[in-house]
Subunit: 260 residues, 4 copies
């Protein structure tokens, strides 16, 4: 499966500010970058560093007056879509050290608040069956609707409101999974068919020795996602982190399947 990705960001800056961009598809065993170009219009030097967990990369830019970034890529995805339900549980004591941070609460995923609820409601389930039950629960509990959400909405707020966007679905699933002692992280991806077309966020659950992409919104399939970056929650995977204030002028994200 091949994806064509086109992104345009155009932001204004009332005062100069440092900007951290994460918009490039990552080079990974399961996804190959056929072509890729990132152009940032800026007088300042740009610098890239490795992304969280070594997945993808982050790019520092300087917003001064205006910042325009254009990104184009063709990515070949060779990730198998898996039946989660079949995966056995991993006891926490067998988890690799690198997955432990993803068991803990983070800024937008207050997993410590959900422990009792998860324990009681999903009693008896474990491993892939539990992961699937949590995903179904999130999908059933939420409606896709941005009316109650903004960049600071947390999993707990989303749970109360009963609606949210992809970011909120991912946060809630991640919070519940961690409360269930399944390591869970957030992943920024490009995926076709996302409505509205935009940067997309999904969850990734650690089951049976590896990470598995799960889109609680049901809009994207694991074998059609181009991973950009991973992290604890939206703080880590934001496509743009501004140390100051920025105003959106234009932002477009186009992701299309390329016919073979």
């Amino acid at each position: 499966m091949r994806l064509s990705i086109q992104v345009l960001l155009d932001y204004g800056f009332p005062e100069p500010a440092d900007v951290l961009l994460q918009i490039e598809a990552a080079a990974l065993p399961a996804q190959r970058l056929e072509t890729q170009a990132l152009v940032i219009e800026s007088d300042h030097p740009i610098r890239a560093v490795a992304g969280e967990e070594g997945v993808g990369q982050r790019c520092w830019a300087r917003g001064k007056g205006r910042l325009v970034a254009r990104y184009e890529a063709v990515v070949a995805i060779e990730r198998a879509a898996l039946d989660l339900a079949m995966l056995p549980a991993t006891p926490v004591t067998s988890l690799p050290a690198a997955t432990i941070p993803y068991l803990l609460p983070s800024r937008y995923c207050e997993s410590d608040r959900f422990e009792h609820l998860v324990r009681r409601r999903f009693e008896g389930l474990s491993g892939g069956a539990l992961a699937l039950a949590l995903t179904d629960f999130v999908r059933g509990h939420l409606r896709y609707d941005g009316a109650d959400t903004d960049a600071r909405t947390t999993a707990m707020e989303t749970f109360a409101s009963g609606r949210g966007v992809c970011r909120d679905y991912a946060h809630l699933l991640v919070a519940l999974a961690r409360a269930a002692e399944i390591p869970a992280r957030c992943v920024a991806v490009y995926a076709p068919g996302v409505d509205p077309p935009d940067f997309h966020a999904v969850a990734e659950l650690w089951l049976d020795g590896s990470w598995h992409l799960v889109d609680a919104t049901g809009m994207a399939r694991a074998d059609e996602m181009a991973v950009v970056t991973v992290g604890r929650d939206a703080t880590d995977i934001a496509f743009m982190t501004v140390f100051g204030t920025a105003n959106l002028w234009t932002q477009t994200v186009r992701v299309e399947r390329i016919a073979d």
Copy 2:
């Protein structure tokens, strides 16, 4: 139905602090105070003022080193236990002015966060049937367990954790009812059979032209409660508000049915 009430509070104060006590059963048409005595050991003058909405009274004291308060009363309750389900809905535009504040969010009842959830999950219900459905929902969703709760726990946190004490049950029911456009307030009561025996908090919902006591924990019946005070949430109805810091030394609450 007659109740015997005995309360002892004994608190230490590292620094002098003003203290607002609300521990006296209110004189109300549906509850008659047969005998009542409040004794506060303090060098400072004590002063009582009317409680919220004119229900009951508040008493100012001064915590200096130590504050001991003893309260004893016999209260005759003549409140009918009502079948909520039969009560018709009141359109918001017909609500009395005094009920409007109880439609709005408050410190511990973030009703604005629950609007969508309530609207979707309880669609088609109204009036007493809706009130009953919300009460059943709270009772089913929560376990009575104090492990996740403290004096600052909010309805949203309780909803996520799935457990709480009487105060949390009341907060969650009040938040949901307001989100459903039913005026709802919190009420401090004395009730027999409360386990553990303590100050008890319940909700009060405005239906068909009057307030109706509802205990989402199911531990107390409306015809067995002696109302102390009413308010928006625990901030208003706390038995003790300290403007500073106090340390609990001893606190006992005994409420018993008096055989006829």
Copy 3:
């Protein structure tokens, strides 16, 4: 001093919703309504009820598709501007019952969080001198700037961010005053010279037996404000409370001094 007030609200409603409007200047001893007209375009019956504490009035409307409200008034203000610093302190035990709720924390004014800070930083001050010191502190601590604030921003968040709009200034002053055991409420007002021209929010502090308007932003003077409504915080005094979702189409507020 006479004010001319002109307001236009034009909102869209994706789904029908109940709407509570509070946009009419209140009839009060210190402000006389010379002319006043509120026109709401709606197929549904409109109904007015008394405002919080009997100040002003609230008006129920139904947002269905679209809601347009026009308000015009001329108000004569006869309120004296007072030197707060001269006012003596009132011991909490002498406060009228009706002021006690304004000592307690509310949804957006977490006064319980600020008690230690206020006690330590303003030690030795009381009454009007303390009120003035708190006002100066808020004015010095904050910059007028809406970049960090939205309808759910609380006093604690404003204190951390160091900036906000009129609503945030009022919330922070109210929170600090309550922490200092001075009853404090929020007041919606019309005032000339407010920049940007809009609904304005200020604080009201209880000192020496009456309420005193204080604008921590410094933009409006007490003798030039037309009070609309009072309450615990923005939840009570919002010009529009929607039980559902509304989209702003147009909103203008014009307030001008009328030359004698």
Copy 4:
């Protein structure tokens, strides 16, 4: 400088729960473990994994009825105490990839809330001088006092209350440093002279190419601290994380300088 460390943890478990312990001093270039023994009384197998960033280690245990852990060590510290003020600033674009996560907000350090305040109040400062000014600010703003704090208190709440314990000092300094674009993390340490004697938490700031320990409480010096673990905030560095509920029975921490 050599430290003798003795720890006893004794906790009860109402229900079986997984427990993550982080109480062993880390083996690091600047600190050498002369002797070390961790004994956990448990029927279940214990398993250790590497700590966050490869610093120290985490140990999984199973709380069933009761969990007793004893730790004893002698650690030789060879860390130089440095004058922070001399360190030059590092532009964010020159930061190593591994430090970027420590620029972002976390569960208890809402650095995004403090950006404006930090920018305005510490304008013109950078590098070590800025780090020192932030540390002095935290020390001056807070009193060491546990009355307002619990395990879920955040930097924003601490800032409002004006008091806290070591954990709160560390959280506030970390939040402010990140807001100032200085990477900052939290560090659990053993240090002599800490009052009350307990697990201690400090901040670590990235300046001039390396991490520097800073104790905003002023109780411990960098050359007297034995580092246990590092992380984004208290979620990562907690000495004990329980996936469920535990009750403290006994806990003692003794740290003493060993005379040469």
